[in-house]
């Protein structure tokens, strides 16, 4: 059992507010990912949870107990650093057993625990090596092993995969997800890579400029972004944004005029919209479809064929719109194409960049991996 709670946490370095009042709850056994662009404060937030940085104000609670003044070692946490931070002068075994050596655990017991962790991570043949003699992926696993050995209530990962090459990153991502299942531990993970966030998280916390822009399950953030920032940050390739004008806000949704002059009704709640307020339409590249009758059109500037999919970059006036289309699209560069979209999949943002609430909840928006797990447990019984 381990829960974490942050109450109005702030952090100020000299004259800059890095974290501007964050409230957050992390449930037991949850995999929470802090994601955001560099400089958004995500690492600082994690370091405050770890105790390596003090909070300027606010409370940090673990299992309901305030731990602001408790030292990093006594919070029951373990952290995996971006640089791995292995002790270069110690063998893998000593690296993993260092915390127990400091806690004066007898040698035999120490070895036992290290072996257990090494087994989970397939590190047994490497125990006598020094970090220098390990590959990047192996170092990463040792760093995780060092955390496992401490048997922490919460694991903290600070961009652990950013030093690995692309292939290894995918492999470690899967391994981390498996580890989360196996250890059944609460994990907090910091990354700037939204794919890592989407693939691993139970709950994503999107940070920007020291505030939480939105938190929720990956599918909730994808289908119901609260604002333009989250909409643009989550999802790859990025969402397209088009300036549109308001025609009429009714109970069915908001009728807008597209740049091409055609009208379209998006099923969102526009009851609070002022007349003539500027709007922005957001559509994900994968939700744009090539369609000869479609309301939008443009000239293809660049075409990227990935085999299964094709990315089209279409010039539409001053704007370049990205379309993810089928791999078998026969178009060529400089072709004119028409395309459209399902209004159910579209998002509307007001002049402040806030999303107008959708009238329909996406069926998967409430789904988390925890639901998966509970369902699996239920069917096993």
């Amino acid at each position: 059992m381990a829960t974490l709670e942050l109450k109005q946490i702030t952090k100020r370095f000299d004259d800059t507010d890095v974290i501007k009042g964050i409230d957050l709850e992390v449930n037991d056994r949850e995999f929470v990912v802090f994601v955001g662009p560099s400089g958004c404060g995500k690492s600082t937030l994690m370091r405050m949870i770890a105790g390596l940085e003090s909070a300027t104000s606010g409370d940090i609670l673990i299992n309901g107990e305030r731990i602001n003044e408790v030292g990093p070692a006594h919070r029951g946490l373990a952290m995996v650093f971006q640089s791995y931070a292995l002790y270069p002068h110690m063998t893998v075994e000593d690296n993993m057993g260092f915390s127990m050596r400091l806690a004066k655990v007898p040698k035999e017991q120490r070895r036992q625990k290290v072996l257990e962790a090494a087994k989970i991570l397939q590190l047994e043949p490497l125990l006598d090596r020094k970090p220098k003699a390990l590959s990047g992926g192996q170092r990463q696993r040792v760093a995780i092993g060092r955390a496992i050995v401490r048997n922490p209530s919460i694991f903290l990962f600070d961009e652990p995969l950013s030093n690995l090459d692309a292939a290894l990153r995918v492999q470690m991502r899967i391994e981390l997800a498996r580890l989360h299942e196996e250890l059944d531990a609460t994990m907090i993970y910091v990354t700037h890579d939204q794919i890592e966030a989407m693939t691993m998280a139970d709950k994503i916390v999107v940070l920007h400029d020291g505030v939480v822009e939105q938190m929720g399950s990956p599918m909730e953030l994808y289908h119901h972004p609260r604002n333009r920032f989250v909409a643009g940050f989550i999802g790859s390739p990025k969402m397209n944004f088009l300036d549109v004008s308001l025609e009429e806000a009714g109970p069915e949704g908001v009728r807008i005029r597209l740049p091409s002059g055609r009208d379209c009704t998006v099923p969102v709640d526009g009851s609070e919209l002022a007349v003539d307020s500027p709007l922005e339409l957001g559509i994900r590249p994968e939700h744009l479809q090539l369609d000869d009758q479609g309301p939008l059109s443009g000239e293809i500037q660049v075409l990227e064929r990935l085999g299964g999919q094709t990315s089209l970059y279409v010039q539409m006036g001053e704007l370049v719109v990205t379309i993810m289309a089928d791999g078998d699209v026969a178009h060529r560069v400089h072709d004119m194409v028409r395309f459209g979209f399902d209004p159910m999949r579209a998002h509307l943002f007001n002049s402040e960049g806030t999303a107008l609430p959708s009238l329909h909840q996406h069926p998967l928006a409430g789904l988390t991996r925890r639901d998966h797990r509970q369902a699996a447990e239920g069917s096993n019984q």
Partner: protein, 294 residues
């Protein structure tokens, strides 16, 4: 990683120049640099070489025309040894040089740690100020220190010399350790803190082992500086605590210029530190280039 990669980096082949470049081929350049290096080394070494040679001459041969051909004799060494106890002075030198180095490191390590890892706005200024104290001619503070030492009974004691040498070397020792510590990745210390290390354990188990080459070369430099120090040892000691520098000095002034004996005494004075430096030169070079090569 820095420690390990130093050697490999240096072994990397020099970048090749385009053919027909005005600087000539790499081989010619390398030969030129090698010759220059040897010439400079020989020039620097010559006085020491000549001193050693002179020590094995008779007093008459020493003042005669300089010549490399002579019959070597241990006469000067015997006379020098007979006249005064070399061992006593040497022991003083060892005690004072190593004692002050140890004391300086004990003070400087925590100091450099806090400056490197918990810097404040004033850290840079403090470092510069510390270095600036080295720019004052020591004679400027000779009187006050002499009087203080006389009043507290530290004149002609090893303790007194150790204190003076420690204070003398402290700025350099702190400065060097600071640069070595700064190169240490913070993450490793933080990982240690997460693992439950106290600040003391952090320093003992992580910082010291990982910056050992740097600490060793700092220590060696401090030993050498203390060993060679003459101004304070001549002024603050007379017989009991006098180190080897005072021993050499005793040959030059009262007896006029006895070149052979003076050379023999000097050779004996520098021999221990020369051998010590030779044995540890690998450590020295490694430490002094530590961090410089990434």
């Amino acid at each position: 990683m820095t420690i390990a990669s130093t050697k490999q980096d240096r072994a990397a082949p020099p970048q090749s120049l385009p053919k027909g470049s005005p600087l000539g081929s790499i081989d010619t350049r390398r030969l030129g640099f090698t010759l220059l290096g040897w010439t400079v080394a020989c020039l620097i070494f010559f006085p020491i070489f000549w001193m050693v040679i002179t020590g094995f001459k008779t007093e008459a041969a020493a003042i005669a025309d300089p010549s490399l051909i002579f019959s070597p004799t241990l006469e000067s060494y015997q006379e020098v040894q007979a006249r005064s106890g070399y061992a006593r002075f040497a022991l003083n030198s060892v005690a004072v040089a190593f004692g002050s180095t140890l004391l300086a490191l004990l003070i400087a390590i925590p100091c450099a740690y806090s400056m490197a890892f918990l810097p404040t706005k004033r850290t840079k200024g403090t470092l510069l100020w510390m270095l600036s104290t080295k720019m004052l001619p020591p004679v400027g503070v000779l009187m006050p220190i002499y009087l203080i030492f006389r009043d507290v009974g530290l004149l002609d004691t090893r303790t007194g010399l150790i204190i003076v040498y420690t204070l003398m070397n402290l700025p350099i020792v702190v400065w060097m350790l600071y640069t070595f510590f700064k190169d240490m990745p913070r993450d490793i210390l933080e990982a240690g803190r997460m693992d439950g290390a106290t600040t003391f354990q952090e320093v003992l188990f992580l910082l010291l082992p990982l910056t050992l080459p740097g600490i060793a070369s700092t220590g060696l430099l401090s030993v050498i500086l203390s060993w060679n120090e003459a101004f304070w040892s001549l002024n603050l000691t007379s017989s009991k605590a006098a180190p080897l520098t005072a021993y050499i000095a005793s040959f030059s002034s009262p007896e006029g210029l006895f070149w052979a004996k003076l050379s023999a005494a000097s050779t004996m004075a520098i021999a221990p530190i020369l051998i010590f430096g030779w044995m540890t030169q690998k450590q020295m070079v490694r430490g002094l280039t530590f961090g410089a090569v990434k």
